[in-house]
Amino acid sequence: MVRGFAILLLLQFAGEVLGRSLRLPVPGNVIGMGLLLAALVGGLVRLEWVQEAADLLLSHFALFFVPAGVGVMVYYDVIRQEWLPIVVATVLSTFAVMAVTGWTEGYLARRGGGDGR
């Protein structure tokens, strides 16, 4: 478990360093996700080393977003000024994105004879 956390944090750190030095528009933790995948595929990291820590974090994934969400209260006034276009655009657009993404992926997966059902 400790080894797993150490590996995850080390890869996040490596991701931050890589992202900053290459000026990538992607946050360090997302780069770290890619690095972990690469390290697992390349055999540098074994699945057993990280599985326990990863399972623990992923089973509580939603919890880690709560503090960021509470931060919305600070910007309440900004939203209130133009709330109608903001709410309508956000809600309709979110549904549109889900429909278009899911339909596109599902259609191509079925047509390509992949394992789309």
Partner: protein, 231 residues
């Protein structure tokens, strides 16, 4: 003495864990998707801070500890991606095409609808990356001249919306395959949507995690391009 304790991390960490625990109980007992634990915990804490008058800063002293764990948790998404890599690679073209279509739809509908409804230019710009994970979205909006704090709030609201009713909406419009659903929810509602997908289906959760990264990169390229074209 009490004010002292409120400023210690103990308060923010305790309030977050306690609210989330109760919100999860409510969600499991009721089985009602609208009671999404993240959304309920966020609203409960905001109401609590608002009524007691405890400043956000005091809460954040502890909240930041919880937020810190989001970093390694995002890295950990590499594990389900690795475990399910064969299934994901088998449909890489549909996945990439889906994310591309979703990224384009997100930018055009979010900004387009706000513009049609008469929102100010700054709000129209701030909405463009609303489906992308917060650090990327804020970077994009800083570049094109929107309001970064507004974008941060929109990103969270979008995420909660996707988490509350993403899988239900997908089933309603005929998206039942867990991989397609994961891609849809991850592309539309980034990490918060991914958190919900991880509960619904592990493969769907892994693909949603992949969508956070890919949609983020794609949107970072597309938004500046599209807004140059429309200017």
């Amino acid at each position: 003495m009490a004010a002292d304790l409120l400023q210690s991390p103990l308060f923010g960490v305790g309030l977050t864990l306690g609210s989330y625990f109760l919100a999860q109980k409510l969600y499991l007992r009721s089985g009602f998707p609208l009671f999404n634990p993240v959304a309920v915990a966020i609203v409960a804490i905001i109401v609590f801070l608002g009524t007691t008058g405890i400043p956000y800063r005091d809460y954040a002293a502890g909240g930041d500890y919880i937020l810190f764990l989001l970093g390694p948790a995002v890295v950990a998404l590499g594990v389900p991606l690795y475990v399910r890599r064969r299934e994901i690679l088998a449909r890489k073209i549909p996945i990439l095409a889906g994310i591309f279509a979703g990224a384009l739809t997100s930018i055009l509908t979010a900004s387009g609808l706000a513009w049609l409804l008469g929102a100010s230019d700054k709000v129209v710009l701030s909405l463009a990356p609303k489906s992308v994970t917060a650090p990327i979205a804020i970077g994009i909006v800083e570049k094109i001249g929107g309001i970064p704090p507004l974008t941060a709030a929109l990103v969270v609201i979008t995420g909660c919306l996707g988490a509350i009713c993403g899988p239900e909406f997908c089933r309603l419009v005929g998206i039942r395959d867990p991989a397609s659903m994961g891609l849809a929810v991850g592309t539309a509602a980034h990490g918060i949507g991914t958190a919900r997908m991880l509960e619904v289906d592990r493969l769907g959760g892994a693909i949603a995690g992949l969508a956070i990264g890919l949609n983020g990169m794609l949107t970072a390229v597309l938004v500046p391009l599209l807004f140059v074209l429309f200017r």
